[in-house]
Every structure is written in structure tokens, then in C-alpha cells.
């Protein structure tokens, strides 16, 4: 006979404001099989948990329903509490009367009744729960870090320093990411490359780190502790072991007019190239889309000039497979291109550039050697208009979020411009100035007060070209909405930070969730900021939402700590909510008919065949068998199996059937 305990949480007033918790507890106490039903202000607090524990012992409970928030929030909390009181944790279920009830309905009888229905449903389910034991699987103590920007670099070094193996995968020919493109960094104005490049070299030299550049994730299967990661090493058309990185090929390459990705199209590169002089590894790759040999079938100048004969024109993409216990996503972000702004000319005006392009103009290693010159004619601009929130905080552009970094870098840009062109006038159109970091507000004040940057609070409606000038039409909302027109020589759009290209595809390969802007989603916005909903996959940096450098580095170290924590155990404990093929006594053995269609269904290749033999070793029957180490518990085979021979622990036929009838029958 079931003895179920029901515990109704008020969640302060989060639940009790709209649900009559006392009534729910009272009604639940009369459900068949319920031995005790109580309500309490904060069930997840220590006294609340004790209430559960004491009731388990006092009433010899066979099951517990905690009626509170989402199981995605506190199921582990209460299952642990049950275990501490000697009840198998899998005999505890949560009835979600907060997210799915009190928060989404108005106060009233219907809401209380819904809470009662939800509790009754879970009581019926828990009566059918079975005591389960966790599954233990070994952990491969290698982490794959995807992305070699500052986030990936920081995380990789932290994990490697803790003594674990790291495989870093970078899509571009060099690690370094966006940070390596930046000129100087706010609020200290120290040179970006000066602080980053030593860390890049550390990655390349670290004995625990294997670095794959010009490489992408091909596929990922498996799960936490045992991911199988297949990495595509795109052909560099070069034998890296032979190449010394002398650069003779780059100097002689006849194709010199390819817009450089690193220079944001403001500089040119050759077809065989390293993205920038401090690249790691500092060995070139051939860009086959632009190489004369691959287009026309002849040239091979690089092969001729190469002193070590390292060029390999027929090299193909190759693959490596890595067994990894954890994955760390550090794929970074991108910025919206100026072509996304019809009102600012659809990208057709050369002197309307984005913030990242300005970084290159301001960088001492950039295409203008750090002189601020406008792209169209190389003149030094006398007036620059900076437009903040270009695409950010703009629902009409589909991006209602704040990109967070633009206020600061725009202030920095205006400052750098003023430092380099003393007679120049920088204007900044802004909505609000968000300078909420250490020394950030002071930095902005410096721009305004010392460098006399002209801040105009208002939006820009249009930019157009006339007589070699860019006419910027906007409004000054602090001057009672007065229209403003500025004849500028250059316009810099602080375009919105967006998810990196290919992030959706990568998320789908890894089965991590992402938001509508294609940024990866964290498991919990406050308490699990560096974890994804997929166990064993962690997030660092701007691939989650745009972040500045200090935040990115902090997140990367946080994610690294999570990986190191995971690797501190030899075995991983997993919930046993997996599918099983039901067995029965002889002569039937199992209702499984051996049609093996479930093998086709399973996405994890977790199902194979099992022979049932008699004492003499003769095969009586061949049935399906599910490997508990591989099964992830999706249950697709369960719904497919016609004879209902497969069931899934935690969501078994009896439980879900009981839930349906309990939900509908008062």
C-alpha cells in the first residue's frame, strides 16, 4: 500500500499569492494513498527540507511529491533530501505549481483547482515510481575547447594547468579571435595584442594542449564523460611539420588583392597567407577560393619559392577523433555589418564603417599603421560621427537586447580619434550611456571632459552622401527634439554584437539550446551561467551574449573550473532514466518479438541483439537489448515498440498512463 507524502510550498508568496496552498494541502490529504499532506512557506529552505525528511521517517513514506517550482529548478535538491532520509531519490517527484500555475494564472478557484489537479497527477505517478540506482560511467579526462579567442585561450590554459588534456579547435588559421584585432582596450587603453599574444604562445607551447587551427567540429556524439568528437582539419595545402614559417611564399604570391578578414576588408592579403604577423601558429594556409592554381590550374609560385618544399597542393581535409569528457564552447561573436542598415546606406558608402573596422584603423599594426584615414580616399577625417546602438536595443531590427560593449568602445574610439587627430571633432549619437564596470564611468567622463567628445542624445534617422561628405540627420532629444544635421567625413556605426556565423549549426550538432538570436543558452541565467542544458557542455565568453574582455575571461575561468571539477572524479554518476527491454518468466522470456525495428529508431546505437539460451546453450530466442551506458533515455523506441516490450524508467507506461487519467478524472 502506497504511503505518499505531499509537500506544498508557498514559495514565499510566489505560489500562495494566486494558489490557496492550504486548500491544496487539505484536498491532497484525501487522495487515496496519501499519508501526509502539508504546506510550508519555503519548502526548499533547510526547515522545509527537514519537514520532508522527518515525514519520510515518521510516516514511513513510500513516495514524495514536492509541489513547488519546476523540477528543472529543485528536483535534485529534494531528491537529495529524500535520499538523506533513507528514501530512494527516484521515489520523489515534483509537481510544478509555480512556473506552470501560480505565475501564469490569476488568483482564483480555477488556479487552485489546477494546482490540485497537478498534485493529483504527480501523486498517481509517484505511486508507480520504482526505486532506481544511479549508473556510473568512466570519464575521459580530455576537454575539447571550441574556439581560440580570448575565452577559449583562458579556459584551455586553466584546464591544462590543472593537469588535464585539452584539445583546442579553431576555425581560422590562427587563434586570437576578435581580441587580436582590437587596437587598445578600455578602460586602461593598453594594447590588446600586447596582453593577448603571450597567452596565445602559451597555448601553442603547453604540453597538455593540442591545437588544431583551420579546423571545425564535424560531429559530436556520446554524452557527458564520453563525448566522441570528430574534428575536420581543413586542408592548409601545406605540410606544417616541414614549413618553417619563413614567409617567402607570402611575399611572392601573385594574388595580392584579397580583402583581409583580419583587417575587416580594409586591408589586403595574399592567397597564401597568415592572418596577421603575430599569428599562432605562424604558418600560412592557402585560401583555395582565391588561389590562382586552384582556380586556373597553374601558378604554383609558392611551391617554387618554398625553401623547405612544404606546399602540398593535393592535400585533402583530414579528420581526427577525440574522446572527451567535456566540451567548452567559446566560439565568440560577430558584429552586424553596415549592409544591414538601409537608413545608413545599405553599406554602399565606403566611409560608413563598423566598430571593428575602426579598431583596425586605430591599430598600430592595421592597414593605415594606426593613422585614422577614411577608407574611400585616405583623407584624415575632420569630423567623425559615431552612432551607438546601431541595431542594438532596436526591436525593428529584430534585436531588442543591449550589446553591452558598444558604449565603452565608442567612447574609446572617440578618444583614440581625438588623441590621433587633435583638430578633429568626434560626435557620438547615443540612447543611454551604459558604463557599468570598474573604472568605466570614469573613462566615459574623461572622453567627455578631457577629450571633448560631443555626445548627442538622440537617434540618427539617415546618413547619405553629398558632395563627398556624409550628411548625418538625427535628433537631439536634450534640445527638445531639435533636428540635427552634421556634415561628417566618416561615420562609425557601433553595430550590434550578434551570434557568430554557424553558431546555430554548431548548437544543433551539440544539442545545446540557443536563444532566438542564436546565442547559446545557459542552463540557468543566474546560478548556472557557464553551463548549458546539455550536461558536460560549458560556455565561455561572447558566444552566450556579447561580453567585454574582463567578463569573458571571468566566464572562461568559471567554465574551466566546472570542467576541472567534473574531471576530479574518475566515475560519473548518471540518472538511470533509460529504456529497458522487459523480461518475463519462461517460456515467454520476453514479449519482444525480435523485429529489431527499435534498432532503426535509436539515435544512439544503444540497441543491439541479445540471445536467450537454455541451460545447454541452445538459442531459444533473440530479442532486443539496450546498452545502459549508451542509452540517453529519449524513449523514442518505447513509443515505437508495438508489443510494448520496451519501457523507460522514470516515464514508464504505467506512470504516464496514470498521469493522463489522474489529470482528467477528479
Amino acid at each position: 500500500m502506497a504511503r505518499i507524502g505531499v509537500f506544498i510550498c508557498h514559495c514565499g508568496e510566489n505560489i500562495s499569492a494566486t494558489v490557496d496552498c492550504e486548500k491544496v494541502a487539505k484536498v491532497a490529504s484525501e487522495f487515496p494513498g496519501v499519508a501526509v499532506s502539508v504546506d510550508y512557506k519555503y519548502m526548499c529552505s533547510d526547515p522545509g527540507q527537514n519537514l520532508v525528511k522527518e515525514a519520510i521517517i515518521e510516516h514511513k513514506l513510500t513516495g514524495v511529491v514536492v509541489s513547488a517550482c519546476s523540477p528543472r529548478m529543485h528536483e535534485p535538491t529534494f531528491r537529495n533530501a529524500c535520499a538523506e532520509a533513507g528514501l530512494n531519490p527516484f521515489l520523489c517527484e515534483m509537481a510544478n505549481i509555480r512556473e506552470h500555475c501560480s505565475w501564469v494564472h490569476e488568483k482564483g478557484d480555477a488556479t487552485t483547482q489546477k494546482a490540485i489537479d497537478i498534485v493529483r497527477t504527480l501523486v498517481e505517478k509517484v505511486k508507480r515510481n520504482e526505486a532506481l540506482a544511479p549508473i556510473y560511467v568512466p570519464i575521459s579526462k580530455t576537454a575539447v575547447v571550441i574556439g581560440g579567442g580570448v575565452a577559449g585561450i583562458q579556459a584551455a590554459l586553466d584546464i591544462a594547468d590543472a593537469g588535464h588534456k585539452v584539445v583546442m579547435v579553431e576555425r581560422e588559421p590562427s587563434i586570437g579571435g576578435h581580441m587580436s584585432q582590437l587596437s587598445e582596450t578600455f578602460p586602461t587603453l593598453d594594447c590588446s595584442q600586447c596582453i593577448l599574444t603571450p597567452r596565445m604562445v602559451d597555448v601553442a607551447r603547453h604540453p597538455n594542449i593540442t591545437l588544431y587551427t583551420y579546423a571545425e567540429i564535424e560531429s559530436v556524439d556520446g554524452s557527458i564523460g564520453n563525448f566522441n568528437v570528430k574534428i575536420r582539419l581543413k586542408s592548409k595545402s601545406l605540410d606544417e611539420k616541414v614549413c618553417t614559417g619563413c614567409g617567402a611564399c607570402i611575399q611572392k604570391c601573385p594574388v595580392k588583392k584579397i580583402p583581409s578578414e583580419f583587417e575587416q576588408g580594409l586591408g589586403m592579403r595574399t592567397a597564401i597567407y597568415v592572418p596577421f604577423p603575430q599569428a599562432v601558429p605562424n604558418k600560412p594556409v592557402i585560401d583555395r577560393k582565391n588561389c590562382t592554381y586552384y582556380i586556373k590550374g597553374k601558378c604554383k609560385v609558392c611551391e617554387i619559392v618554398c625553401p623547405t618544399k612544404a606546399i602540398r597542393f593535393d592535400q585533402e581535409d583530414s579528420f581526427v577523433e577525440v574522446q572527451a569528457g567535456a566540451l567548452l564552447l567559446a566560439t565568440g561573436f560577430d558584429v552586424l555589418k553596415t549592409s544591414a542598415f538601409p537608413e545608413y546606406g545599405y553599406g554602399k558608402y565606403k566611409d560608413v564603417i563598423d566598430g571593428l573596422q575602426f579598431e583596425r584603423l586605430a591599430s598600430a599594426s592595421g592597414p593605415t599603421k594606426g593613422e585614422i584615414r577614411r577608407p574611400s580616399d585616405g583623407q584624415i577625417p575632420k569630423k567623425i560621427v559615431f552612432i551607438a546602438c546601431a541595431g542594438s536595443r532596436d526591436p525593428a531590427k529584430g534585436r531588442e537586447y543591449c550589446s553591452k560593449i558598444c558604449c565603452m568602445y565608442t567612447a574609446k574610439h572617440a578618444m583614440l580619434y581625438k588623441h590621433k587627430v587633435h583638430e578633429g571633432t568626434p560626435y557620438i549619437f547615443y540612447m543611454d550611456i551604459r558604463a557599468t564596470g570598474k573604472m568605466y564611468e570614469e573613462f566615459v567622463r574623461r572622453a567627455i571632459e578631457e577629450d571633448e567628445v560631443k555626445y548627442i542624445r538622440g537617434r540618427v534617422s539617415q546618413v547619405y552622401e553629398k558632395n563627398g561628405k556624409l550628411i548625418v540627420r538625427g535628433v537631439d532629444t536634450l534640445l527638445m527634439g531639435q533636428p540635427v544635421e552634421i556634415e561628417a567625413d566618416m561615420v562609425v556605426l557601433a553595430t550590434a554584437g550578434i551570434a557568430n556565423q554557424g553558431s546555430e549549426e554548431l548548437a544543433q550538432k551539440l544539442h545545446v539550446s540557443y536563444d532566438k538570436h542564436k546565442f547559446f543558452s545557459e542552463a540557468h541565467p543566474k546560478l548556472k551561467p557557464v553551463e548549458t542544458n546539455t550536461a558536460g557542455i560549458f560556455l565561455a565568453g561572447a558566444c552566450q551574449s556579447t561580453k567585454d574582455i574582463p567578463e569573458t575571461v571571468a566566464a572562461a575561468s568559471g567554465a574551466a573550473a566546472k570542467v576541472v571539477g567534473l574531471f576530479s572524479n574518475d566515475m560519473l554518476k548518471r540518472d538511470p532514466l533509460i529504456a529497458i527491454v522487459k523480461k518475463s518468466p519462461p517460456p515467454v522470456y520476453s514479449s519482444c518479438t525480435g523485429c529489431f525495428m527499435c534498432i532503426q529508431v535509436c539515435p544512439y546505437q544503444a540497441i543491439d541483439k541479445e540471445e536467450i539460451k537454455d541451460r545447454n546453450g541452445n538459442i531459444i530466442k533473440t530479442i532486443s537489448h539496450i546498452n545502459p551506458g549508451l542509452c540517453q533515455g529519449c524513449g523514442t523506441c518505447v513509443a515505437f515498440c508495438k508489443s510494448k516490450s520496451i519501457d523507460i524508467l522514470g516515464y514508464n507506461h504505467d506512470q504516464v498512463y496514470a498521469e493522463v487519467s489522474a489529470l482528467l478524472n477528479e
Binding site: M597, Q600, S643, Y657
Partner: protein
Amino acid sequence: MNNIQQKTKELLESGACTLIIGYEKGTGGKARPVFVRKAEHAAKLIFDESCDQNIAGYLYRQEIKNESKKAIVANNHTLKSIVELASENQIHEGDFMVLAFTAEGEIIELKSFEEIEKHVATLYHGLNDEDKATMQKIEAMTMEERWGFWENEFSKCIKCYACRASCPMCYCPTCTVEINQPQWIPVPSHTLGNLEWHVMRAMHLAGRCITCGQCAKSCPLDLPIHLLTYKVALDSEQYFDSVAGTSVCANNVLATFKTEDHENFIR
């Protein structure tokens, strides 16, 4: 007709076979299945238009599985069922001999599953005119009329499970109707439970029904329940290009998917 009797007689006499599963003359102008074990009884066997029962289901019966040398006289339905059963791993190549007929009525032995597949490929797969007409009639009805039609039919069902017993694809030793924890299908035969049973039966036959109509032929109440599995079979072909009983190595329509499968109802 002589050639079937001649052929099977030879098989039994030579000892190549010890059991022939075929048809004999029944009552009311119908043929019925017969098991022939002796050469002198081969004369009982017939094969003509009346032999329309699908008898593939005998092949996996435990009692018959143990007989090593057996042959089956297979009509077109039986052949398709053999292919489908083979794809579902219920029967195995070489365990039995298949005697089939050419379009001209010539008896032939199909020596492998591949030969059966090839033979099946030459056969007509669609519905007969009468069934087509009924399907169209039902599909042209309003929703309420369709519900009324089926409610009336299901109300007559007595849950004798003759449909299940006669279908070669219903081979599960423990059928879902026999499970009582939970009780998926109610035991008494009321309209609601009958409806659930027939919906479940049709869904279980998705991508597996070879449209022989044996279920309806066996129904003592003449309910047009074959149309339910036909509907599923037609949809499987229309949307997923899957025709049951045509390939031994085909995957089941519901056990596979394409990312580009196109629906228009999911919001």
C-alpha cells in the same frame, strides 16, 4: 490446377518436402487452407481465384517453424507478406520453399527472398476498385458523417480479434490488448474501447499493411476495418514513399525519418 498437384506430389514423394501449406476446396465456393503431408493427399490442393486468403501467418507459428522441410503455396498477398515478415526478421531465407504462380498460371518455385522481391515487383499494389470507391466515399463525407459511419461500425465489433488472428503481421506473442498494467485496451467490447483497438491496430500496421484485406474478410460482422490499415498504407506511400511488402531490407516507415519530411499542421 493439375500442375500444382503434380508438383507438390513430386515434392512429397521425393522427400524434398514433408509439409505443403496450401489451399483446398472449402464450402460455399470458398477455398480454405490445408496442410498436406502425404503425396496421396496432394490431389486435395487447388489454386484458383477462390484462393485469396493470406496464409503467410502460418510460417512463423512455433508448431510449424520446427518442421524442417516445408513449402507454401503462395498467392500474391502471401508473397508480399513473406517479404514484409522477412524484413521484420520473423522468417528466414531457406526455412521454407515458396511455390508461386506466373501471370499465365504456371507454377514456379521462388528460391530466394530476392526472387520473391522481383516477383512481387511485377504485381499490382493498389486497392481494388470496390475498396477505392469506398475510401473515396468516406473521404468525401463530412467529419460528422465519418464519425457517425465509424461509430456505427465500431459499435458492432465484438472484439473477437479475428482481425488480429488472421493478419500475418500480427505476430506478437503478447499483444498490447493482453497487457493490463496499464490496461491499454478495455476488455469489454464497447464502442469506445473498440475504437481504441482499431486505431491502435491500424497504427501498428503503419508501413506494414500489404493491403490484402484479410482482416475484413475474417470479420464475422463484415466491418470494413481493412480501410483503416489501408488509409495508413496509402498515407505511408503518399508522404514517405513507403510500400510494405516490397523489400526485405526496407526500414519501417515510422522507424525512420527524413529531416525534410513535410507537414503543414505543426505550429
